[in-house]
């Protein structure tokens, strides 16, 4: 697990760099707030209501479909790494796996779940 230490370090470097930027900015940038400046930008108009309104459920659907297909792809990765040693048997297994999911894909296609209108 030694090879993961640089990644942990890089995460810390990323956080550190962000902090350095923001600190630098605190010393160099002006700070003269007024209510107009601090109001939410809405094309120059006074903001109407909060932005946290309802939005379309379509976004939720995209996330659901993403998770399903993502899990499928994750299953395929460990197979792909050593599928040359697994040979034809492994390939047939995987074709079965993919075909079952292709059926699901065709079903949602037919049902119009992938239509964005």
């Amino acid at each position: 697990m030694h090879s993961y230490i640089p990644i942990i370090l890089m995460v810390s470097v990323g956080i550190l760099l962000g902090s350095v930027f923001l600190l630098l900015h605190r010393f160099l940038g002006p700070h003269r707030p007024n209510p107009e400046k601090l109001s939410t930008y809405e094309s120059g108009m006074p903001p109407v209501r909060s932005a946290r309104e309802r939005f379309s459920v379509k976004y939720y659907m995209v996330a659901v479909l993403f998770i399903l297909f993502d899990i499928e792809v994750i299953f395929l990765y460990p197979w792909a790494v050593n599928f040359r040693t697994l040979g034809l048997f492994g390939y047939v297994e995987m074709v079965l796996f993919i075909v079952i999911l292709l059926v699901g894909y065709l079903y949602i296609l037919k049902k119009g779940a992938l239509r964005w209108d």
Binding site: M10, L28, Y59, F83, R84
Partner: protein, 347 residues
């Protein structure tokens, strides 16, 4: 002198240096690319771009940085302050830690983990959450809609890009970015786009599928960095600036830097997957650790320029077209390609 060498061989010290090294690349790279992008955009549109600051405006990126540093840092009263500050960190950390698995040359890679390319796919999800956070924290309608669209777009295009990478993993038999590059060592004919170093008939039959996978990955990587023709999240004429509308000064600069770093990242992944990473196109001629870094950066920059070219040439897609391309074109084609490649390799 000996003390310094001893210090350098200390594993912790060398790990810290390894972690800092990509930064030394990203900062100058961003300055150069901002300049290249503006100049290319201008010439594509038949105008001149920067001419005043320095020779042909070469000092403009520095002037931009000075300007950003002097800007006032505004946090709107309606925003959720803590999340508003945290969001740029998340986006930047997500992008920066992906650089850990880029093999700049045979001698340099931040972290040679066994699951390199898989890690790359996973870490980009940190960026999605960062964007959603910035959009929600800003409490601005443009920001929130930009963030939602952006998240939906990145998430949709992750499936075809993961499938395209899968095809390459099947051919090379490894997820480590360094081993993947070694697999393609030995000249232009050994690159995965030309079938890697497999027997001749397999190579020949793989080429068409590899080209399709390459195009699929190219399109989805462009969508994942939110640039035109996939810039719906920040379509200027509709959503002002998208998720970073409320950000100013250095926080905006961090988003901007992350965007450019991301651009190189996806271009570098294209190079690792299909175009031989740091390997020289002439086999052993002009190869070695230093030339390796040269080839890697040159190839990466070529794809960055391709991205810029496409950005300033193509019109923007509509949201429904965007989803159509991802779910109904790229995903099924990528799946079929994976099946076909499997058949060819296993035979």
């Amino acid at each position: 002198m000996e003390n310094i060498l001893q210090l350098l061989s200390n594993p912790i010290v060398s790990a810290v240096l390894m972690a800092l090294a990509p930064l030394l690349f990203i900062l100058p790279y961003a300055l150069v690319t901002i300049y290249i992008e503006m100049k290319m955009a201008a010439h594509i549109q038949n105008r001149l771009a920067y001419m005043q600051t320095g020779w042909h405006g070469t000092l403009q990126p520095f002037a931009d940085i000075l300007k950003l540093l002097q800007k006032e840092d505004i946090i709107p009263t309606a925003a959720s302050k803590f999340l508003f500050i945290l969001a740029p960190y998340l986006v930047f950390v997500g992008t920066y830690s992906s650089f850990a698995v880029l093999p700049f040359s045979s001698a340099f890679i931040g972290s040679n983990i066994d699951l390199g390319i898989f890690f790359l796919i996973a870490v980009s999800s940190l960026v999605v959450v960062g964007l959603l956070m910035s959009g929600w924290a800003s409490n601005n309608k443009w920001s929130l809609f930009g963030a939602l669209r952006s998240a939906a777009q990145i998430v949709s295009y992750e499936i075809p890009s993961a499938l395209a990478i899968l095809g390459v993993v099947m051919v090379s038999g490894t997820m480590s970015t360094q081993e993947m590059t070694h697999f393609q060592d030995g000249g232009i004919g050994q690159w995965i786009i030309f079938g890697g170093n497999l027997p001749l008939w397999q190579k020949l039959s793989l080429i068409p599928f590899m080209i399709i996978l390459f195009l699929i990955y190219l399109v989805s990587s462009m969508a994942e960095v939110n640039r035109t023709p996939f810039d719906i999240p920040e379509a200027e004429s509709e959503l002002v600036q998208g998720y970073n509308t409320e950000y100013s000064g250095m926080k905006f600069a961090i988003f901007y830097l992350a965007e450019y770093a991301n651009l190189f990242l996806v271009s570098a992944v294209v190079v690792i997957l299909f175009f031989g990473g740091w390997t020289s196109p002439f086999g052993t001629f002009l190869s070695g650790p230093v030339w390796g870094a040269f080839w890697f950066v040159t190839k990466g920059m070529l794809f960055v320029c391709l991205n810029i070219w496409l950005r300033w040439t193509l019109p923007r897609l509509r949201v429904d077209q965007l989803m159509y391309v991802s779910w109904k074109v790229l995903t099924p084609f990528a799946l079929l390609c994976v099946l076909a490649i499997g058949l060819i390799v296993v035979m």
